[in-house]
Amino acid sequence: MRRDVFQAIADPTRRAILYHIALEGKTPNVLAQHFHSSRQAVSKHIKILTECGLVKQEQSGREIYYYINPKKLKEIDKWLQPFRTMWEDRFGQLDNLLKNQKTKRS
């Protein structure tokens, strides 16, 4: 199987895993709690993410923590697009708010 970032984000569970570890490292147990699927299934996805270079792991005491590998995310085409989506969503809400303000005040 192809092992690159596109492969990594092609699956919704893997996107969800990335989402969960984007801000802070998570142990396999904590991560598995977020999913209805079995821990084995989650492990399998983590393995693929690791092989794609998107997830790094670090040992801390007896626990393993999974982290996102930000360098790898750069490879994703149109990497600015999600940032744009976020702002467009935000501004869409602002449009609605401004529209309501106008109606209220006129």
Partner: protein, 167 residues
């Protein structure tokens, strides 16, 4: 208000700055209020499915906006904006940071310098947001967080997968 206005996002050559430009079909004072009054900011600042919730807002030079982004499961991520310079109905400049609920800054997370400029156009108000980072890496970190938010929004069914989530 017929068609959605376009958002332009560019990266400056130093790779440390993002420039976001957008026009709004509303008069200057409405747009200014929406960007500077917490009751209004709370209604639009957070991209779905999160919502912004202000803890304290002191919009004056030297003042701070302390707020959190609240996820659907109630988890919170705190941010603060410290206002440096305010020219009413024209511009405001400030520094942003991720922090805890008491406003204590998280040094691990990227800090951002914001310059927001407002100008009148024929049909409304143009807003130019310049976000400056201390390094290219910090900029990338923020893009990645946008990435996270972006793909969450793009996939509504993701909610089913997530029992708990964060900003």
């Amino acid at each position: 208000m017929n068609q959605k206005n376009q958002t332009t996002i560019t990266k400056d050559p130093s790779n440390k700055k993002l420039i976001v430009v957008r026009e709004f079909d509303a008069p200057m004072d409405h747009v200014w209020k929406a960007w500077t009054e917490s009751e209004l900011l709370d209604q639009w600042w957070a991209p779905k499915p999160w919502r912004a919730e202000t803890k304290t807002m002191d919009f004056r030079e030297g003042g701070t906006w302390l707020y959190s982004m609240v996820g659907p499961d109630g988890s919170r991520h705190w941010s603060r904006a410290d206002f440096k310079k305010i020219i009413p109905n024209k511009s405001f400049i400030g520094d942003d940071a991720f922090c805890d609920e008491n406003g204590k800054i998280n040094p691990e997370m990227p800090r951002m310098h914001w310059e927001n400029e407002f100008s009148e156009t024929a049909s409304g108000t143009k807003v130019t947001v310049e976000i400056t980072f201390s390094s290219e890496e910090q900029l990338e970190k923020i893009i990645e967080m946008g990435f996270k938010e972006g793909f969450t929004m793009a996939h509504g069914n993701l909610d089913e997968l997530l029992v708990a989530q964060k900003v």
